[in-house]
Symmetry: C2
Subunit: 136 residues, 2 copies
DNA sequence: ATGCAACTTCAAGTTAACTTTAAGTCAAGA
DNA sequence: TCTTGACTTAAAGTTAACTTGAAGTTGCAT
């Protein structure tokens, strides 16, 4: 079992030590002891941190992610949660693509005011509906 | 010039009155007067609100959006900002798709623990790098 | 022995984008 | 006239995910 101290972990993971302490306080990760004052971690924590980063990128809250973490090390996941989120992301991707088209159009549209360009208007009202759906 | 009061505006836009007041305080929108106590808006504010929703969806902050709003009504945009954001979104879409694949895999992967599935591991380390890039 | 960098804890501060609350104002209907 | 309901303001509260600050502790090099 290879161990690693907080400074090394911060460096390797790219996550600030303050965040690591915060994660530990929130039981997202666990240190296995101390070396003097210093926290000492098992190296698998690096993988857990990657998993946390993935989860965040995927739009899960830390709480959600915590519920997927198995404390004894590693992680296990709720498959329903995952496929739901995968679907959600697919929808998100579609919307973002639409918005991207909208922005691209706006960026090169020659209309003096976007408020007068019918294409922009159309894209706009679609995006607004998206937003409304999101609020619910 | 058609006008509209705050309750109607809230209903038509789907945005709570408290938010409309907040937007006005932050100079995102402007009311053109009062009817008794009640704020009265010009109807073009509806379009401005759609624009705001679009901007938010596109990942702009309210401040960014404000800088694109022309106070006398309507909006005008900084084309560089837009194409930059469009690019950003394109990148985001790619990452999200990768994550989606990752989640989909995890959701149906038969490995007892994801931490032991090499495919998941691979996707994981890619996602972690994404996240690191985002932090900078 | 001493200094100091690198850690520690605990509490408080930060940010964005709102929402909530309390206390007050107003117009209209009974 | 009185009540009601929809508005008003200003200030404080909310949430997530951290970061910062102050004050204390430790191991190691001088």
């Amino acid at each position: 079992m290879r161990t690693i101290d907080i400074a090394q972990l911060a460096k390797k993971s790219g996550i600030p030590a303050s965040t690591l302490r915060y994660y530990e306080e929130k039981n997202m990760i666990r240190s296995i002891g101390r070396n003097g004052l210093k926290r000492v971690y098992d190296e698998y924590v690096l993988e857990q941190l990657q998993f946390i980063a993935l989860g965040q990128r995927a739009g899960f809250s830390l709480q959600d992610i915590q519920s997927m973490l198995v404390t004894k090390g590693g992680f296990e996941v709720n498959r329903d949660m995952l496929s739901q989120r995968a679907e959600g992301i697919a929808r998100e991707v579609k919307q973002l693509k639409a918005i991207q088209r909208c922005l691209e159009h706006a960026a090169k549209c020659t209309a003096e005011r976007h408020s007068e360009c019918p294409k922009f208007q159309r894209l706009l009202s679609v995006a607004a509906k998206d937003a409304a759906r999101k609020r619910k």
